[in-house]
């Protein structure tokens, strides 16, 4: 905003007290006030003032109106840490907005703020916001935003910018300003805008929320101009400002004719298989999937991108993934993310050969998903392009009711008889999954370092009678929860990071815990030490805001995935007998004491626990703390995987 306009506002402010008062909002809990009368005699202005502007904001600020806009969007929380580029907005959020809807959640790193949004949205089924400093804060937040983009999770990212170079203060404000803030994250956000007026802010903010929460969901970014935030709303403008009402928008669903074709293929198939990854989007998703699977008596293979199906459902054949897919003559892939990988496999060998797994030569693949509805050119999260036999663009869960009806309409009595026989065989096979997993975990029960199976099952023994939720990834703990726990609620887990950017689990779990807090759920997060060290500051956030969560640090004292990789490289080159092989991959010498770190952040913590016999009691004490509404951490010295 130019100096000319500022002077106009000043004149309006000093010459017309009436209009300034009329700008006071009735929507804010602490509306802007005029200055109280002072008993100190006034000093001539030209002796005290450095410029011709009044020292007090005359009426309602632009950022007050921005908060009015944000409050229409049902955003409960805004994770942030302070930054001068959004100081007006922060002050309005706390004082004008009463620090409610959204409530300011203080974090110690912008990456943690954004990752909290990621975890929160998958539990709350709606986005929260993060507010990050211009340029530098956005750069910090960028990896977590990319993870959420790759995971197709909504997030409202707010940043600030001192756009007017003529009023920008020297040094810091120049370093933190940009011609185009959003360029840092444009490759992995669904939309962004840097509105140049308050009306533009209202329009863009509502549009951003609308876009973020419509499938395919993804993060959006709004840059709030510094002058727009800090300046008084010009007289007469507020009455003209308008906040568009957000209406519930339906999600894109599959073409009805193609859905009929899909049903025909599924009903006619000898061995149909349903493959799911990022399929389930609402609490109703698993129930719809089970309805279709039971109609067809078809096995389901789950890659756990969301909580898609109960792990102990007899048609869940994920433990037999390869034989199940090999036997299929039709695969229905619901939001699979990587379709190509269903029939191909790039081996980690010299030359990276494609070694296709055994598949039925007459296999037909039906794809229903929204992956192709949002792609960007640069970062390659789109996975390899794959040809399929029937491709239906649309949200898989939204398409499911019409697919179920189409299947029902085509099933005859003869089909039912055939399907029942198929289902009986599947049930007989799956009845052995649990016992086999129990046998497997017994082999590592007394191992030292503490095995991941022991850690996972001692935790299970302490939460099985609670209303629990596990928001963290499990591929680094050998998927034990999916093999041995009883996961049957739509919120029991929420999938992973999306883009495998390390440092997701620790803060995203806290975001999930924030969403779980109102439900009184016990949130349990098993996080690797490598992941934890990317965002230890979230422990302070958990303590400061009293967000109940139990962290178990899977402390294998290494970047273990990379341990395996460096061994592979060295073995190929016949150099793995070098005693310095693990330089750069082990996190030891000194060993890190995670309990002490947690205690330093004010959190209850125990550890390091090295003896498996000590683990159950430590976890029990941690769970007790969480049930009392506190966060807690247990440091478990554990095996690699």
């Amino acid at each position: 905003m130019s100096k000319r306009i500022k002077r106009r506002q000043f004149l309006a402010g000093v010459a017309a007290a009436g209009p300034a008062i009329s700008l006071i909002s009735t929507t804010g809990t602490a509306a802007a006030q005029t200055a109280p009368a002072s008993s100190i005699p006034p000093v001539p202005n030209d002796e005290r003032s450095l410029n011709d502007m009044p020292p007090l904001t005359q009426g309602k600020s632009g950022s007050d109106f921005m908060i009015d806009v944000i409050k229409t969007l049902d955003i409960d929380y805004c994770a942030s840490l302070p930054g001068s580029t959004f100081r007006g907005l922060q002050e309005s959020m706390i004082n004008y907005g009463g620090n409610r809807k959204p409530e300011f959640i203080t974090t110690l790193h912008e990456d943690s703020a954004a990752a909290m949004c990621h975890g929160y949205a998958k539990v709350a089924r709606k986005p929260m916001a993060c507010m990050v400093h211009g340029t530098v804060g956005l750069q910090h937040a960028s990896m977590a935003i990319y993870n959420a983009f790759a995971d197709r999770v909504p997030m409202i990212v707010l940043t600030g910018n001192i756009g007017n170079s003529a009023t920008r203060q020297m040094n810091v404000e120049w370093n933190h300003a940009a011609q185009d803030q959003a360029v840092t994250v444009r490759d992995f956000t669904k939309w962004d805008d840097q509105p140049q007026s308050l009306q533009g802010f209202a329009d863009s903010m509502v549009r951003a929320y609308d876009l973020a929460t419509t499938v395919p969901m993804a993060p959006v970014l709004i840059t709030a101009d510094g002058d727009l935030q800090e300046d008084t709303i010009p007289p007469g403008m507020e009455k003209k400002l308008y906040i568009p009402k957000l209406k519930t928008r339906g999600h894109p669903t599959g073409d009805p004719a193609l859905v009929q074709d899909a049903a025909k293929l599924l009903v006619a198939a000898e061995n149909p298989v349903i493959y799911v990854n990022r399929y389930s989007r609402t609490d109703n998703g698993p129930a719809l999937l089970v309805e279709l699977a039971e109609l067809l008596q078809a096995p389901v293979v789950d890659s756990h991108g969301r909580m898609n199906i109960a792990n102990r459902h007899p048609l869940n054949h994920s433990p037999r993934r390869e034989p199940t897919l090999a036997n299929a003559d039709v695969i229905l892939a619901l939001e699979p993310v990587d379709i190509w990988g269903l029939t191909n496999y790039v081996a980690d060998l010299i030359g990276r050969p494609d070694l296709p797994p055994r598949r039925n030569p007459n296999l037909k693949i039906i794809h229903i998903g929204s992956e192709m509805l949002l792609t960007k050119a640069n970062f390659q999260d789109s996975q390899r392009y794959a040809q399929v036999d029937l491709s239906i663009a649309g949200d898989a869960e939204s398409t499911m009711p019409s697919l179920i009806e189409a299947v029902k309409s085509q099933i005859t009595a003869a089909h039912k008889s055939r399907f029942a026989a198929r289902g009986q065989k599947l049930r007989e096979m799956s009845s052995k999954f649990l016992d086999a997993a129990r046998q497997d975990v017994a082999y590592q029960w007394d191992a030292r370092p503490i095995s991941t199976g022991r850690m996972v099952m001692e935790l299970w023994d302490n939460i099985r009678n609670e209303d629990w939720m596990m928001p963290t990834e499990s591929q680094f703990i050998s998927d034990w929860p999916f093999r041995l726990w009883d996961m049957n609620k739509p919120y029991h887990t929420v999938g992973g990071s999306g883009a495998q950017g390390i440092g997701y689990n620790t803060p995203a779990a806290l975001g999930a815990a924030l969403a779980n807090k109102q439900h009184g759920r016990v949130t349990v997060a098993m996080v690797g030490d490598g992941d934890f060290n990317m965002a230890p500051g979230v422990l302070w956030t958990a303590t400061h805001h009293q967000i109940p969560i139990l962290y178990l640090v899977h402390n294998n004292r290494a970047y273990h995935q990379e341990v395996m990789m460096i061994i592979k490289m060295a073995d190929r080159r016949m150099r793995s007998n070098n005693p310095n092989l693990y330089v750069g991959t082990k996190i030891e010498n000194p060993n890190i004491d995670y309990a002490k770190i947690a205690q330093g952040y004010g959190m209850y913590a125990e550890g390091p626990i090295s003896d498996p016999k000590d683990l159950a009691a430590a976890i029990r004490r941690g769970v007790d703390r969480v049930k009392r509404g506190e966060p807690a951490l247990i440091d478990v010295v554990s095996d690699g995987r």
Binding site: Y345, M574, N577
Partner: protein, 115 residues
Amino acid sequence: MRRFIVLAGLLMAASSVQAQEYAPPKGDAHNGSALFQRFGCYSCHGSWGQGTGRDGPRINPPPAFPVVLQQLRTPRREMPPYVASVIPDQGVADIYAYLASVPKPPDPKTIKALQ
């Protein structure tokens, strides 16, 4: 990786008759334990050879020694090769002795957390 596990199992089964003709060589379990860590065997198979699901199969108790040796020298699928200049046959024998010394697992029915 899961296919590796299946193939490794088939390989072991197919070789079992032949393998019975070879007695395991004498090995030092203590040294084998150190080698198992040093060469990173634990990273995919777990410190007790218990297996880690998708990354490496259970090798506790170990299959016949010739099967282990063959898999190390000319591995199937994605396991990296360990040549004799890196782990001599005696080292393999020590690792084998270590895996054979790992305690037998308890009956899962006796473990409270598994009920």
